[in-house]
């Protein structure tokens, strides 16, 4: 009897410990799972870093349409924006691939792409449903420049007369077309010029960051496409934006200054948070040495009339769409007035010039 009692005790003990272990295991796995989820933010350590296979396992399904309720925009006056839409025609082409159509390109299509005068999604393969243009290349990091060349060629061959400016963006770039039109309205599409976030290394006049997007004038596109027929520029390079920048310099296409009238950058290689928060990008980060103009962190980083942001994930696409085109502070008088500051700047410039001339005249008369 004693042995069966002790057996019972042993069984109870074992059973109890088993429950204990199980409960602890559950608790620990929950706690540890939480910690694993809080991954350290991956800073893109290479300026020419390509977008590696997404760690985003939770793909954002569906779409959100903020424009569905027109009711909230009854008092909105879009006349100036609409005028610019017709005056400054922009063809956007978005660099994407078969794996990213559902993950990324779809959300671009649901948000900012609708504001281009014409938008094309460029992939290695044609997809009639999305739709995408098939460039007949392979996918991958080393194919980027080749895809870019073929994409611009396609645009030149099929849509040259349909637009004045030709914008390249990634499927994780968010572009604010209204602000791009405002920037470009001061230039002629017949000028050989292109704009983007200007970087300084390797190319004397600088080159434009690929991810932040860049836009070519009609003349620039013409020269770029012709350059490959005459072998002025080479085809092989794994660094798309740098190769394009070198080619532009060879062709005497000017690297434009895309900063606003207050000197603030408009094309951004990262999301707003990375630029707005002082200290977010460590001082040893490549970015500080690459920027052509002195890089600014904090509120001065970014123009009120920003044109682009990069490394924008799917939720942030909709977040930006909402913040830019919908949420607003009622009755608020914005501090930065682009038209006003431009006028006073020009006025004082003109006045100074006139004074100079008057003085010169007086000197020559005496």
């Amino acid at each position: 009897m004693a042995s069966s009692k002790s057996l019972m005790n042993l069984l109870t003990f074992t059973f109890g410990s088993a429950i204990g272990f199980f409960v602890c295991y559950l608790l620990f796995s929950i706690v540890l799972e939480e910690q694993v989820k809080i991954q350290p933010h991956v800073l893109h350590n290479d300026p020419h870093a390509q977008h590696s296979a997404d760690t985003d396992n939770n793909q954002l399904q569906g779409q959100m349409n903020f424009n569905a309720d027109a009711g909230q925009h009854k008092d909105e006056d879009k006349n100036i924006a609409e005028g610019l839409y017709h005056k400054v025609k922009i063809l956007c082409w978005v660099m994407t691939g078969p794996q990213n159509l559902e993950k990324k390109a779809r959300h671009v299509k649901a948000t900012w792409a609708q504001r281009c005068n014409k938008v094309l999604f460029m992939s290695s393969e044609e997809n009639k449903d999305f739709p995408t243009v098939g460039l007949e290349t392979k996918e991958g990091r080393d194919q980027l420049y080749w895809k870019t060349i073929k994409a611009f060629q396609y645009v030149h061959d099929h849509y040259f007369d349909d637009a004045d400016w030709f914008m390249k963006a990634d499927d994780d770039t968010y572009v604010i077309l209204d602000n791009l039109r405002w920037l470009l309205s001061k230039y002629s599409p017949e000028q050989p010029i292109y704009f983007g976030r200007r970087f300084k290394p390797y190319v004397k006049q600088g080159y434009m960051s690929g991810g932040a997007g860049y836009v070519l004038s009609k003349e620039a596109l013409k020269r770029f496409v012709a350059a490959f027929k005459t072998n002025k520029c080479t085809h092989s390079s794994s660094i798309e934006d740098l190769a394009l920048g070198k080619c532009m310099e060879i062709l005497n296409v000017e690297a434009g200054d895309s900063r606003d009238t207050s000197g603030r950058e408009t094309f951004h290689p990262f999301v707003p948070e990375h630029h707005l928060i002082r200290g977010y990008l460590p001082k040893t980060f490549w970015y500080w040495n690459y920027n052509y103009y002195p890089a600014v962190e904090g509120p001065g980083c970014c123009s009120d009339l920003a044109v682009s942001f990069h490394y924008v994930d799917s939720v942030t696409m909709y977040h930006l769409e909402y913040l830019i085109y919908h949420l607003r502070p009622y009755g608020y008088l914005y501090r930065y007035n682009p038209d006003l500051s431009k006028n006073t700047e020009e006025q004082s410039k003109n006045e100074a010039l006139e004074d100079n001339q008057k003085i010169k005249q007086k000197i020559s008369e005496s």
């Binding site: 954002l60 399904q61 569906g62 779409q63 959100m64 349409n65 903020f66 424009n67 569905a68 309720d69 009711g71 909230q72 925009h73 009854k74 008092d75 909105e76 006056d77 879009k78 006349n79 100036i80 924006a81 005028g83 610019l84 649901a110 604010i176 077309l177 209204d178 602000n179 039109r181 405002w182 707003p272 948070e273 707005l276 928060i277 977010y280 904090g298 509120p299 970014c302 009120d304 009339l305 920003a306 939720v315 909709y318 977040h319 909402y322 913040l323 830019i324 085109y325 919908h326 949420l327 607003r328 502070p329 009622y330 009755g331 608020y332 008088l333 914005y334 501090r335 930065y336 682009p338």
Partner: protein, 299 residues
């Protein structure tokens, strides 16, 4: 027209025992206020004065700093009521750790000091971001001498209360009634709830209910909530994941007043996104005019 409008705001309606039946409350009609001159609009904008209370604890220092540097600058006056004195920032120390006790003291002090200076009182937690201009627009035609208690409401059994996460708005009349019932230990004790403590936002609702003040959920003209207890990102994800096969409507109101659950960095992003970043060539003819706060670089 201006006189009638101002008359509405100051005089109020006749019946003092006016009981608010409706639980959903809306923003004013745009047509009502469109025919004013710029000067009249500035005057009208100045006539609505909002005092902001933000309840903080030392552990909230990051959020506290962000709120100080961002949205709270747009309140006519903002003060931080802290559980204890903190050297780094100015605050009103209430010397209590329990949120309900903190809230009681904050409201009591606020009423005593500011009852003649402000008509509306907005209480927020450190993780909340508020757009005060939209709050003022929302309150434009509401009479503060009526007992208003507005925010994002939740129903818990019989009790409808304003969720603190979304921010709590009280008119001066509600604050006055609250101030007197706070002294009643039967109706409004410091320790509510029999078995466990009730959340402070529920306690507030119970006390206010005794004085005839009832919670109202604030919505825009499309029926969307303007006080939000979550962040924009969270609301987007939620809306899209509940209907993965569809194109869903935009999550949030154009005239949203609050979002919550924000990290300090996100508050800086919201400042840029709300008060600066915009598309060129889109303009509105608004009935009110709000100037940017002086000496500020992020709005």
């Amino acid at each position: 027209m201006l006189v009638t409008l101002l008359g509405h705001i100051k005089v109020g309606h006749g019946t003092k025992a006016h009981h608010h039946e409706h639980h959903h409350i809306q923003a004013p009609n745009k047509e009502d206020v469109l025919n004013l001159s710029e000067g009249e609009r500035v005057e009208l904008s100045k006539s609505i004065r909002v005092y902001c209370i933000i309840l903080v604890k030392p552990k909230d220092l990051g959020h506290w700093a962000a709120a100080r540097e961002t949205w709270s600058k747009h309140c006519d006056k903002a003060e931080f009521y802290s559980s204890e004195n903190v050297k780094v920032f100015d605050s009103v120390a209430v010397n209590a750790n329990d949120l309900w006790v903190m809230m009681r003291k904050a409201y009591k002090i606020t009423y005593e000091r500011y009852k003649d200076e402000f008509s509306w009182f907005f209480l927020a937690y450190p993780t909340t971001f508020a757009i005060i201009e939209n709050l003022k627009y929302f309150l434009l035609k509401k009479d503060p001498s009526q007992p208003f208690y507005i925010g994002h409401t939740v129903k818990s059994g019989d009790l409808e209360y304003v969720d603190g996460e979304g921010g709590i708005v009280l008119s001066i009349e509600s604050l006055r009634r609250l101030s007197s019932v706070l002294a009643d230990p039967d109706k409004c004790p410091e320790q509510g709830g029999v078995i466990w403590k009730l959340a402070e936002d529920k306690q507030l609702a119970i006390c206010l209910k005794y004085t005839g003040v009832f919670a109202e959920n604030a919505e825009d003209s499309e029926g969307k909530d303007v006080f939000n207890t979550k962040s924009v990102g969270a609301l987007i994800k939620e809306a899209m994941s509940t209907h993965p096969q569809q194109v869903v409507d935009g999550c949030c109101s154009d005239m949203a007043i609050t979002f919550s659950g924000l990290a300090p960095n996100h508050m800086h992003v919201m400042m840029y996104g709300v008060y600066r970043l915009r598309p060129y060539g889109h303009s509105y003819s608004d009935a009110l005019v709000f100037l940017p706060p002086p000496g500020s670089d992020n709005d």
